[in-house]
Symmetry: C2
Subunit: 340 residues, 2 copies
DNA sequence: CTGAAAGCGCTTACAG
DNA sequence: CTGAAAGCGCTTACAG
């Protein structure tokens, strides 16, 4: 492989001149620039990334820490990952994907060896043990997922409080007064998925304010359990006219549950879910839903991280950026059916 | 960050001795080794990856090229990716995930800049334009997906010919003589997904040999089109007693299609799919299926790549490793119903 | 506007 | 068994 020395020799200039001609970091005569560019072309020169990293202390690589938890809907993760890799590339960065079981030691290993310029952490838990390492690391980081203590770090997440309120308000406005909220399993919460309770509590509070009866239940995240549980909940709350789903598996299972009971949405029951647009397409789910905005969260995390990496002053104060929930109306909500 | 120089100073030895003590590449007195290890611990020393890469020409990173094609079932990709990243880590490698639209230039960019020691290409097409670059690259590569011309490169794929035969044989043995095969859309084939026709042709040939009538159809890969098409096929072939699905969306749509027709598998119709075990779990699909073995393919590709990277002689001849299809019996096949 | 030189942090022949 | 030195391929002050 050609080196900058080869380029310099072919162009008949010094190595420093060749380097400056390529970086544009000092003025170069048109003539010399031309010769250098010719040499680069004829030699097919590309800078050696390791050498450049050593000289500049910049790798142009972002470390992406993905956690794959049991009982989590893994395909959803792909949207976050693509949001990150694609936007990173647009900003001139490549992505090192870290899927180690032990995120703490992966983070330490990559940080200490200076393999990346910054980190993005996915699936951040309420009390995430990776945050201590990240705060002490030499490289900046962005989180996707709001932890209990976000101090000192940039955080991006869906506004689950607003999401819970929005779900209730939307059906309340249509005239619903009796709703069921199906959350993810309780152990997701115990593991640190505080967004589950953020949404549920906000929904409860808003329901109380509006005089709406809200039945909140944690439910399994896999078939066939979730299907059975949905049927049980519909039996248990016969007066409920609306179903709020903060549980992807429940959304996927609902069509067949409704069909087998001879019900349809929104004629018999209104439904609002919370999942990604992509998830809706994959499963062809017909429900109005709050988009979880996975790719957008990934993109924002990258933007912020890159500007922090490239900013000279490191006194930029950290932000917590909660995306305002947006409803994708797929026509599964309506006024409640008139009882007879 | 501490350097090897710091370690040497604290341990009271030369930098080369410190380096050798850590690599174990020459014999070191127990006493010196002890002092060096102490120094490493007290300083929290980790080698700088860029410097090491520059000195050794080894990055300990694998480049993973993933293509996300329209009309492809994206979540399936995640299994391949995890198979690769996890096995790579076990072998001491990290993974650079490349999702560039233009795989050709991504491959060239990463190869020329010496950012990785080898490549794994996912979703390889019949006539994949990345292969030319890969063959000319300084780093070795493994393919997941069999191209038309695999010469000179290690290839890993499911044996789709055997899969087609196996599907037909399994139902033939049970007594079925009239089958429908649902393939992915024809444009998947046109785009280079030759596995579609490899499976279909093998199934056709085997059916002919066994005196089985086989109706082969390309079908859409998204809802609601695929559901309608399945219904149409069942109408068009009322005497068919078995359904072979080489189309993930068809498998996902089938439960509701059967239910709405009052049919059930295997009582009324036998079903064999071809998708990953993980896919079956996610959608809780009840069908017997040939596992697409995504993670196993990823793992094998890594094993081979690593041994090629680390082998001194580069005269190792390339292999084409086709995984023998394995049927996961979920009870959706039986003897055909007796007509009356 | 350009060049000679130092330095980034490692590894590894070469000498002893 | 250990050390001094060269070299990997860049970038960037320092000098002119």
């Amino acid at each position: 492989m050609a080196t900058i020395g080869d380029v310099a020799r072919v162009a008949g200039v010094s190595r420093s001149t060749a380097s400056y001609a390529l970086s544009g970091k000092r003025s170069i005569s048109a003539e010399v620039r031309e010769k250098v560019e010719q040499a680069v072309l004829s030699l097919g020169y590309t800078p050696n990334a390791g050498a450049r990293a050593l000289a500049t202390s910049q790798t142009k690589v972002i470390g992406l820490l993905a956690r794959f938890l049991e009982d989590e809907f893994a395909p959803a993760m792909l949207q976050y990952i693509l949001g990150v890799t694609n936007r990173a590339r647009e900003r001139g960065y490549d992505t090192l994907l870290l899927t180690d079981e032990d995120g703490v030691s992966a983070l330490r290993r990559i940080s200490d060896s200076r393999m990346v310029d910054g980190f993005i952490l996915l699936n951040v838990a309420e009390n995430d043990d990776r945050l201590g390492i990240l705060r002490a690391a030499a490289q900046p980081g962005s989180l996707v997922g709001l932890p209990g203590d976000p101090s000192g770090i940039d955080v991006f997440d869906l506004d689950f409080v607003a999401a819970g309120r929005l779900m209730v308000e939307t059906l309340h406005e249509l005239g619903h007064r009796n709703l069921i909220l199906v959350s993810q399993p309780e152990h997701v919460l115990e593991r640190g998925g505080a967004y589950v309770s953020r949404l549920a509590n906000a929904a409860q509070d808003r329901a109380r304010e509006l005089g709406v009866e809200l039945h909140h239940h944690f439910a399994p995240s896999s078939q066939p359990q979730i299907g059975l549980e949905l049927a049980r909940l519909l039996d248990a709350h016969p007066n409920a006219t609306g179903l709020l789903l903060n549980n992807e598996a429940a959304a996927a299972a609902l069509p067949s549950v409704l069909r087998s009971r001879g019900l349809s949405a929104p004629a018999d029951i209104s439904v609002i879910g919370r999942y990604s647009d992509d998830f809706a397409r994959t499963f062809s789910l017909p429900y109005t839903a709050i988009d979880s905005a996975a790719d957008e969260l990934g993109r924002r995390a990258v933007e912020r991280l890159v500007s922090r990496i490239e900013s000279t002053s490191d006194a930029v104060s950290p932000i917590v950026d909660l995306i305002t929930p947006r409803i994708d109306d797929r026509g599964s909500t309506a006024v409640p059916p008139t009882r007879h």
